[in-house]
Symmetry: C2
Subunit: 293 residues, 2 copies
């Protein structure tokens, strides 16, 4: 509270007056967070100079965003996603040493306790889409292969849906699997070429996207969680660089290092040896885990 104006509000001192009310006994981290939010929020309002009607429109938008959220739908997270905030928080919390693979957002479709499968298994249980072989190595930043790495993967089916979005339509655990590396640090399994898909866009966040001339699509990707003792857990995707939405992911999840070439294999020798049913896609991607800090 400044002595000059006894804590009364003015347009000039607005943020200082609000922050001065935070009691000294407040949890220091909460005081820091609320102080920073207050300063940046007041700076935004001073720059925007909203009319009373615009302010009320913002209040209504936030209210509707809260109302749209329930046990199955989190519209506030979608808002964070489409404004790039979720990715920024992910980036801040996952700064990697040079050479280590980068992270991206977890997303809402991970399922715990998926059964562990032997290397080479096919996780595509509905038989839809283009068969795809996924393989590569898990290394440390010295380039050494890592054994006993738990690889948790999940992806959409050829209709662009995860199994949990189509319970009763897709088989349980369709396009999900857990694998574990051996001494050579390699992995290989079969899936289906993933498809782009929209984030839920029938709520206030989807309406905002539309008003901004933005589409709701995420480019095709596979999700990975890699866990190994002594290393930082890596939550990431690999993306199809040829997807039409690769430069415009609705949630900003794409990083250049996460692009993985999806090649169509038509070589008769390889088809005969690896997939007699016919041509298949192949994606090969190595991951490098950072040492635990």
């Amino acid at each position: 509270m400044t002595e000059a104006n006894k804590g009364y509000f003015t347009e000039e001192n607005s943020a200082d007056v609000v922050i001065s009310r935070i009691a000294e006994t407040t949890d220091p981290r909460l005081a820091e967070v609320v102080g920073a939010i207050t300063r940046h929020l007041h700076a935004a309002v001073k720059e925007i100079e909203p009319t009373q009607e615009e302010w009320l429109a913002a209040i209504k938008f936030l209210t509707e965003t809260g109302h749209k959220s329930d046990d199955w739908r989190q519209e506030c997270i979608l808002l964070s996603d489409i404004l790039g905030v979720s990715m920024l928080v992910d980036a801040i919390n996952n700064r990697k040493p040079s050479g280590a693979s980068e992270s991206t957002v977890l997303g809402p479709f991970h399922v715990p306790d998926v059964p562990e499968l032997p290397m080479g298994s096919n996780i595509c249980l509905d038989g839809k889409g283009h068969p795809m072989q996924i393989k590569g190595r898990i290394l440390n930043t010295e380039g050494q292969p890592l054994s006993n790495v738990k690889i948790d993967v999940w992806q959409t089916n050829d209709d662009g849906f995860y199994d949990v979005q189509q319970k009763g339509i897709q088989p349980d655990f369709n396009l999900r699997g857990v694998f574990r590396t051996g001494d050579d640090g390699t992995y290989m399994f079969w899936g289906a070429k993933p498809r782009f898909y929209p984030i839920p866009d029938d709520g206030p966040v989807g309406k905002l996207l539309g008003s901004l001339g933005r589409h709701p699509y995420r480019p095709a990707h596979l999700h990975y969680i890699l866990e190994a003792e002594g290393y930082e857990t890596l939550i990431t995707h690999i993306f199809d660089p040829d997807d039409e939405y690769i430069h415009s992911d609705a949630v900003f999840g794409v990083k250049e290092s996460l692009l993985a070439k999806f090649d169509l294999i038509e070589d008769p020798d390889r088809i005969a040896k690896e997939h007699p049913e016919g041509p298949f896609y192949e994606v090969e991607h190595d991951f490098v885990l950072a040492p635990a800090s």
Copy 2:
């Protein structure tokens, strides 16, 4: 989209990437507002560096704030209020020329179409509290009295509640009135000395106030809306400067120019002439209206 990274997200360019997605066909004001919000929001996140858990706590807080809002309760507005945002928007939209009375927030308890009463009426219909005479003049910035000014006033009763908060308990239109000035520009009516009262604090916003060591109270005040042809409508309060919360209004509504002395009149001559029932409070306050722009 910068050519260098093809629009892919990095911690450094995060806000630019998000803003670059706004289509050129977007309504220019919406593009400006979303651009400013994105920049300030990313700046706040970069300063705060929230953990994933803190980010999720913020998501939950916003969700609960939306859920608490319904036709009768607007928790998002309360959040705006306690962060000083409502007052800042009010200040930006009501910059007054030198000498004109200042505005403050409307609040949620205004009622339209209140009956017009003759000057000198008593708006205190429940007989509670300390009788109070409220009077003054309505002037223009040249100091001339203004006639035909519509004065719309409302206040809490001695229990700290507005009539609309106690329907069936307080008489309808208790402590509300509309008056109209004559040629001398003066006004006078009787009410009851107002009381401090809490904003609704049983929701997430009240919980946040508690965590910040802040109380939920607004110091005692009377609300005014003054309307006159050729002048800017003035929405304001006058405050009791002796109220214990005068330096800590939970919604930052107090401005120094809105303090009005509430005097206890014990002079037997004035009591005999003006209020034979006994001592009374007197508050005298002039308002100066700015010319319509």
